[in-house]
């Protein structure tokens, strides 16, 4: 207390000076229109620039939340597009039907999940997501990120799931050249997280370097038309009736953060039919 008093006494002149200057400035800005306006304009400019700098810094802290909300809205929009495409395809098959069309129930739904563990350097790569059986995830569901296909759900826990990455040997994905019906099989063979191979493309297929490879829609994991990559080059194939394409993968597997798991409402029915087919064989 004594030290505080000594300090106040020692610098009393400056305190008195600051007090009178402050009172004068308050009077000046409060009761003089011109000076008040100039002060407000300058103060606004300073406040504006300070706020701008602050928001530039704090904006980075909110990017994760913003990204998650964008992913969720993107998923909802993609879901709508897929269901509308489904509906349009169905409507095309109805020719002059007098029965009133009631619409199709939506087939695909998305669940947004965060990648919590990832590997890209092994022969068989997996990553783990933070959604599981409790969120409606089941083995065999396709997983995509904002750029394209990234894997298929392999094992499910209650709140986490393991996903087989596209970067896995012996895990084929049914794909096709976009805009055509030339279907092939996507396979990853080498230790390169950016490229893979599309095998069994018919020899008569027409394509160009840079063409997009998309999912064929022949599996219940992925709807048709989800990007997988772009054609880099053609490589020789052992079978003279088919050729193999080297593909640059759309997704960056080294930086997977948020993904979406695709839920197909027809999957149980289609799986049952496939099992029935196998029994007959």
């Amino acid at each position: 207390m004594r030290n505080l008093l000594n300090f106040l006494m020692k610098y009393s002149t400056w305190f008195v000076f600051a007090f009178y200057v402050l009172v004068s400035l308050i009077l000046l800005f409060s009761f003089n229109t011109y000076q008040g306006a100039v002060y407000l304009t300058s103060a606004n400019a300073v406040t504006g620039s300070v706020n701008e700098a602050t928001s530039e810094i704090t904006g980075y802290f909110n990017l994760r939340k913003i990204n998650e909300s964008l992913q969720a809205s993107n998923a909802a929009l993609e879901n709508k597009v897929l269901n509308l495409t489904n509906e349009i395809n169905h409507l095309k098959t109805l020719v002059d039907d007098s029965v009133r069309y009631a619409g199709l129930p939506p087939r695909f739904d998305y669940v947004t999940a965060a990648v919590i563990n990832n590997s890209t350097r092994r022969p068989r790569n997996y990553f783990t997501i933070n959604k599981g059986r409790a969120d409606g995830i089941a083995p065999g569901m396709g997983v995509v990120d904002q750029n394209g296909v990234v894997g298929i759900v392999n094992v499910c826990g209650n709140h986490t799931s393991r996903v087989i990455s596209v970067l896995t040997k012996d895990q084929p994905f049914s794909v096709k050249i976009k805009g055509t019906q030339f279907v092939g099989s996507l396979a990853w063979k080498e230790n390169d997280a950016q490229s893979a191979w599309v095998e069994e493309i018919p020899r008569h297929a027409r394509y160009r370097i840079g063409d997009t490879i998309v999912t064929s829609g022949f599996s219940t994991a992925f709807p048709e038309g989800i990007p997988v990559g772009t054609v880099m080059a053609q490589v020789k194939s052992g079978d003279s009736n088919f050729f193999t394409l080297k593909v640059h993968l759309s997704s960056d597997f080294n930086h997977l953060s948020t993904v979406r798991v695709i839920k197909d409402s027809l999957k149980p029915e289609l799986d049952m039919l496939q099992r029935f087919d196998r029994k007959e064989e």
Binding site: V16, Y20, S24, L27, S30, F31, Q35
Partner: protein
Amino acid sequence: MDKRIIHIAVLFVTILLAQILIFNHILLFGIAAPLVLVYFIVRTPIDMGTNILLTLSFLLGLAVDICSDTPGLNALACTLTAVVKKPVFYAYVQHDDRMKGITPNILTLGLADYCKYLFTITGIFSFLVFSIEYFSFADIKEIFILTLGSTALTFLLLLGTDSLVTIRHDRRSK
């Protein structure tokens, strides 16, 4: 009551009345306004406590402001000028025991030093008044013209007044 306090009180009231009743209404050639209230800061004893000087200067400025409808303008200029009074004084006068407790005027400082001291303080005060009034460096040219005009007019007025007052006081004391 201490003679010095009465002297300061008379100086305060006289300068206040002179400024608000006479000099507030004068603007020579549109560029020279007599800002005689700075005379109070000039003529207060050099050993007066800074806190007291700041308070009296602020109150004088505020009183002029209230009567001139310019709240804060003269109060701020007076406070800022009061705080630089001692540094300005000692810029022209050497620290000396004989200088302790003196009231700056022609007799105590000599004409040359007193003129320098008076001109500097008047110049600073005029510059502050017009800078605060214009409150924008876009008008710096006008601020300088008004500062020069007002400094010259105020300096001449105060020097003349000071000569009369000091010489009369000197004769009386002899």
